[in-house]
């Protein structure tokens, strides 16, 4: 349950703020070759990538994957990546980064007006004016151990057992007190007449018979 609310919470706070960094979907039919275009883009992970050469080891393991594994590219220190010689058509770019959830990106490389590239996130169909990919949310792989609280003890099976016992010990006599003294007497007599109470007597149906 906790995990659900957690992810929901994160989902509500998706960051759509785009950076002011000069980054664009640069496109040019590469010189000397007529077969393909180049897709340039940038992966931006909040908190990282702003400083040069001082990236945590985590970021050096980010992979950018074209068309489900056809090609794999890596990030430069500033977060830029590129795919060369991509033919015109509609492609899919995915970012694999442990700890972050990225939406796949639909990339249209136009053949008619060479070099025109359009990108859109497939998860929420949002178009990208600049080819900057940001994680939709952080991924938390572990359940957070909740700090020790009285409630957690109470909720545990043993806690429930103790609680039940306490109710029997302290609440039952109170209930008995509130009972009509005559009824009480009758019940006691009944009990005496039947001897040791068995489990069957305690059941509501059986007691009446």
């Amino acid at each position: 349950m906790a995990s659900f609310t957690k992810s929901l919470f994160l989902f509500l706070f998706i960051q759509f703020t785009f950076s002011l960094f000069p980054s664009s979907i640069a496109q040019s039919p590469t010189p000397g070759s007529s077969e393909g275009y180049t897709i340039y883009g940038r992966v931006k992970i909040p908190g990282f990538g702003t400083k040069e050469f001082s990236l945590p080891a985590k970021v050096s393991n980010v992979k950018v994957i074209l068309n489900g594994g056809q090609r794999v590219s890596f990030l430069r220190p500033d977060g830029y990546f590129s795919f060369h010689n991509v033919p015109a058509g509609t492609h899919l770019i995915e970012v694999a980064a442990t700890g972050y959830f990225f939406s796949p990106v639909r990339v249209d490389v136009s053949a008619r007006n060479p070099g025109k590239i359009q990108a859109a996130l497939t998860e929420n169909r949002r178009g990208l004016s600049e080819f900057v990919l940001e994680p939709l949310k952080d991924e938390q792989y572990y359940e957070i151990r909740e700090p020790f609280s009285v409630m957690s003890i109470v909720k545990s099976p043993m806690g429930l057992m103790m609680g039940f016992m306490l109710i029997v010990v302290f609440l039952m006599p109170k209930l008995m007190e509130n009972m009509d003294p005559e009824e009480m007497k009758r019940a006691q007599e009944e009990m005496r007449s039947q001897g040791v109470p068995s489990l069957a007597n305690l059941l509501p149906g059986a007691a009446r018979s």
Binding site: T38, G68, G69, R71, M158, M161
Partner: protein, 981 residues
């Protein structure tokens, strides 16, 4: 009422259990993760600085890695794409690792200490050609730091600082096969052959690539093989008859050649000569049969035979240890020993190093060797050698000792099976293994402290250690819950490893004798591994055994070998070289009296061969003769055929164990509109608990459960390639469910505008498959559930009472079943590499899908998310049954990644094995890395969790007893007072 409330509560609890997650401190308790790199192709040492000594390697699994030279651990590692084969690796500027990949078209620079990519250059070209990476050494004075790359018919000069292409020169138009790039400070020489007899040398300006001179020589004969550059201005090549060595001299723009008969050099050798690729200044090697000749070229161009070595295994490239001293290492075998020698290229008589090595026989021959030197305290040179063995393992040898070794064969797992461990013998006392009671209590007291969050940091460390070290985990005997097993894996090198599921250590490893590289068997590969004998009741004393199938080459017609191994010790019990080929192996569901499983091996001519070859096996098969069916898929023709056994083969002699097959049926798909891209069947050993499914309205649906059921996915031929090559209009995906006994198509479905790759898993009566929807441009997953309608009217209780039901009528595959199929599709975010489903001992536990994503993680997704009965607004009753409201995409809950924050780099497959405990399934994912864990899809309802606190239980009991006494005393006292009143 209370019971009702309780039940609803339970249901509610079970509903929220869709996520099975772990706490961070539980990592490593039930799972293990091993990182590998694969068989090393190139290695470059980096030991100049006083800091960390490392070796940079590139491997056949397309991994670029930096290893610690002291311990062999991985500093950093990058797994390139599957098509991104590494052609060369080197160090530039002393701080960048340069890799050339993808047939000489991608050049990348990685930061040496942390592996961050610094720059990447795409090198264009149209012609396929040899790719050469040339990084000048010892040119520190030169500020330009030029990297020369020849690839795709072009020579590129690239700045080492930022990867900028300074100039490029086209050689493709001259149709020259460039073989050598020689760099001197001002000029670059590019040499190669045009055709087989014209040798060209180009002289280029280093600064701008301008052509300075162009020379060529035409030899009066053709040449064989590639030419070899021996020193800056001398090349050697064999003539087309392979009888002469041609030396080409290149001097100040003049080219001339000399030739010499090989027989003049060595008298008593005949055979096909080959020049081995090497980089030794002034020296080259010639291989004739198993002999290796070292031939020196003097400055005058004379050829001198230096040495002749037989049984030479491998030799390294030259290493320059001082201004004009170049050394190299070679190894040779001599009666079970390995001699490692390091010699000076110019001074053959003296050995700089001569060591004897003892290498485990199981590792096979040495395939490659790389050397590196270090300066000893007495200023003499010491050498260390990195050796790549036949089983793909990597060894570092120094001073005659193996300093470290890496089992990198495990990066190329081909097939996996499991075996039980031996039963615990009575003689072994359990108490010896367990800690004594005091220790046990202490451990639990610590744990209790942990739960109550009053543990100090030291205590926490102690707790973690206690949990991870648990001796229980890696014991070599069978356990009650069936968590401890042997994972038996076959690697591409033909080596078999047994890994313990507890902690992943290698219990035994065997290089198959029959799968060693030899004259008859040039390129041995491991194919499959099967359980051969699983002793149960009759033969418990015997060890289980496994069957390994290997082939001597990539083609189907290459000779095949079978090998039988003892699963406990790894000893090869028996091996057979087969006279026939192996196209397919079918484990039959029959065993003989010694619990050996019968296997049918189908060869390319569609003959079936029975193994084991015993009269008893024949008897068993004769009994079941008419019940053996199989199918074959011909992807190229778009045909699926069904086969059955017919009669014995008739060769010259009648072979009792060979059978001719007959075709029963065939399904021909229209080749212009459909192409088979995926076929999946059910696992033969899957257990199904219940055949019926009770709906919310007390209706009963019967699952259509058949072992002979095949899922086929066909794509339109235009859209059978990768994503990005087809438009939605021309793409379509057609799904079939076929009965493989009768060839009947049970269900057919078309997804318009969709394409592959299709990954599917078949279990019980449902199939789940993953594909790409081009219209939405998202991945989709679909589920098809198949129900048997012919038994649907069995739900009337009166029919049961009156005996009018048809439940007892035999079920045969020949009956025409009335099938109803339900289907639903959902979006799924990621690309997928593999899909598996959990399997448990009795099949009671609900199922989870295990999805290997493109990010090399394994996601567990509850099957309830893929239920065709999901609707937008499920009724109250349906909700209680556990039906989740329909959403258009499947949720990716990060806590349900069973690999948590780890990655199984290069993920290729996922295997699930049931544990004895019903709730638990063992999962093994393999790729370049290995990962193992246990998962409980419905939580561990039949056992206490690992973090169950016994101490808390004890505490509760004590508290209860105390409370009992206190209340007793209190009541006594009250009673007394009552009586006094």
């Amino acid at each position: 009422m209370a019971i009702r409330v309780f039940l609803t509560l339970l249901l509610f609890l079970s509903l929220t259990n869709l996520v099975s997650s772990i706490y961070e401190d539980q990592v490593g308790l039930m799972d293990w993760h091993q990182q590998y790199i694969g068989k090393v192709k190139h290695a470059v040492f980096h030991t100049q600085k006083t800091g960390r000594k490392r070796v940079l390697v590139s491997t056949e699994e397309n991994v670029v890695a930096s290893l610690d030279l002291r311990h062999g651990e991985i500093f950093w590692r990058h797994v390139l794409g599957t098509n991104d084969v590494v052609d060369g690796i080197d160090i530039a500027l002393g701080k960048y690792v340069i890799t050339l990949s993808s047939g000489g078209s991608i050049l990348r620079a990685w930061n040496l200490p942390d592996g961050q990519m610094v720059w990447e250059s795409s090198l264009q070209g149209s012609k396929e050609s040899k790719s050469i990476l040339n990084i000048p050494k010892n040119l520190k004075a030169d500020k330009d730091d030029l990297i020369l790359v020849y690839g795709k018919g072009h020579l590129h000069a690239i700045s080492g600082i930022d990867g900028e292409i300074l100039w490029r020169k086209d050689f493709a138009s001259d149709s020259i096969e460039v073989n050598h790039i020689i760099q001197s400070p001002e000029v670059i020489y590019v040499a190669g052959f045009v055709g087989s007899s014209k040798f060209y040398v180009y002289e280029l300006n280093t600064k701008n690539g301008e052509l300075l001179k162009n020379n060529h020589i035409t030899l009066p004969f053709g040449t064989f093989g590639e030419s070899l550059s021996v020193s800056g201005d001398k090349f050697v090549v064999l003539d087309d008859l392979r009888s002469k060595i041609v030396t080409i001299n290149f001097n100040n723009g003049d080219i001339n050649y000399n030739q010499k008969q090989i027989s003049d050099l060595v008298k008593d050798l005949s055979g096909q000569a080959v020049i081995l690729p090497s980089r030794l200044p002034g020296l080259f090697t010639l291989k004739i049969n198993s002999n290796v000749l070292f031939i020196k070229i003097t400055n005058e161009g004379e050829l001198v035979l230096v040495d002749k070595i037989d049984n030479a295994a491998a030799f390294s490239n030259a290493l320059s240890i001082s201004e004009n001293q170049h050394v190299f290492a070679f190894v040779q075998y001599e009666d079970n020993k390995i001699h490692l020698s390091v010699k000076d290229v110019n001074d053959w008589n003296g050995d700089l190093l001569k060591e004897d090595l003892v290498v485990d026989h199981q590792r096979g021959n040495i395939e490659k060797i790389f050397i590196n030197n270090y300066v000893r305290t007495d200023r003499s040179h010491g050498f260390r050698a990195l050796m790549v063995m036949e089983d793909h393992s990597l060894l570092l040898v120094q001073q005659g000792e193996i300093v470290w070794s890496r089992e990198d064969g495990l990066a190329s797992v081909v097939d996996v099976t499991t075996s039980e461990l031996p039963v615990e013998k009575d003689g072994v006392s359990v108490a010896k293994v367990e800690q004594n009671l005091f220790e046990w209590l202490k451990g639990h007291a610590l744990k209790l402290k942990g739960t109550l969050m009053i543990a100090s940091p030291e205590d926490k460390v102690a707790i973690q250690k206690l949990r991870l070290r648990s001796s229980e985990k890696s014991k070599m005997t069978r356990d009650h819950n069936g968590f401890r097993k042997l994972l038996i894996v076959l690697t591409r090198a033909g080596k078999v490893f047994a890994l313990h599921t507890g902690d992943g250590h290698v219990v035994w490893s065997t290089a198959l004798h029959t799968l060693r590289k030899s004259e008859e068997c040039e390129h041995p590969v491991g194919l499959n591994i099967y359980q051969w004998q699983v002793p149960h009741h009759h033969a418990l004393d015997e060890n289980p055994s496994i069957l390994v199938i290997g082939r001597c080459g990539p083609s189907l017609t290459a000779p095949t070998v079978l090998s039988f191994l003892d699963a406990y010790t790894g000893k090869e019990l028996n091996s057979l070289s087969l006279a026939h080929t192996v196209a397919r192996v079918i484990p039959l569901p029959y065993t003989d009296s010694t619990e050996q499983r019968l296997h049918l091996i189908i060869d390319v001519n569609k003959h079936a061969y029975l193994y084991p070859r015993t009269p008893e096996a024949i008897e068993i098969l004769k009994r079941e003769f008419s019940n053996v069916y199989w199918y074959s898929v011909e992807v190229d023709n778009g045909v699926i055929r069904g086969h059955a056994l017919k009669s014995n083969c008739v060769h010259e002699v009648v072979d009792e164990y060979c059978f001719v097959s007959r075709d029963l049926w065939s399904i021909v798909f229209p080749s212009e509109s459909e192409k088979i891209i995926a076929t999946v069947t059910r696992k033969s050993n899957e257990v199904v608990h219940t055949q019926a499914k009770v709906m919310t309205d007390h209706d009963v649906l019967y699952k259509y459960i058949s072992k002979n059921i095949l899922f086929v996915a066909n794509a339109a031929p235009k859209a059978s390639g990768e994503i990005g090559t087809a438009t939605p209009e021309e793409a379509s995906l057609v799904i079939y469910i076929i009965d493989t006994v009768t060839g009947r198509i049970l269900h057919r479905m078309t997804h318009h505008g969709c394409q592959g790759p299709v990954h599917a898993v078949f279990s019980e009566n449902w199939v789940v498959y993953h594909y790409f929807n081009l219209r939405a441009h998202r991945h989709e997953m679909s589920v098809i559930e198949v129900y048997d309608q012919s038994r649907a009217d069995n739900k009337d209780i009166w029919k049961f009472v009156l005996g009018k039901h048809n439940l007892t009528s035999p079920i045969s595959s020949y009956y025409r079943p009335e099938i109803s199929a339900k289907s639903q599709s959902y979006f799924f975010t990621h690309s997928v590499k593999a899909i598996e489903v959990t399997s448990t001992a009795k099949g009671i536990t609900s199922k989870q899908l295990l999805i290997g994503t493109i990010g090399d993680q394994v996601l567990a997704l509850d099957k309830r998310f893929l239920d065709p009965r999901r609707t937008l607004n499920p009724s109250q009753a349906e909700k209680e049954e556990g039906i989740i409201p329909l959403t258009d995409s499947l949720p990716i809950i990060s806590q349900s990644y069973i690999t948590h924050s780890l990655k199984v780099e290069g993920l290729r497959g996922i295997i699930t094995v049931p544990a004895k405990l019903e709730s638990t399934s063992l999962v093994f994912a393999y790729g370049v890395d290995l990962f193992f864990t246990q998962i409980a899809p419905s939580r561990t309802y039949d056992s206490l969790t690992e973090d169950f606190s016994y101490a808390l239980l004890l505490l509760t009991i004590v508290a209860l007893v105390a409370a009992l006494f206190i209340t007793w005393v209190l009541s006594e006292r009250k009673d007394l007072q009552e009586k006094w009143r």
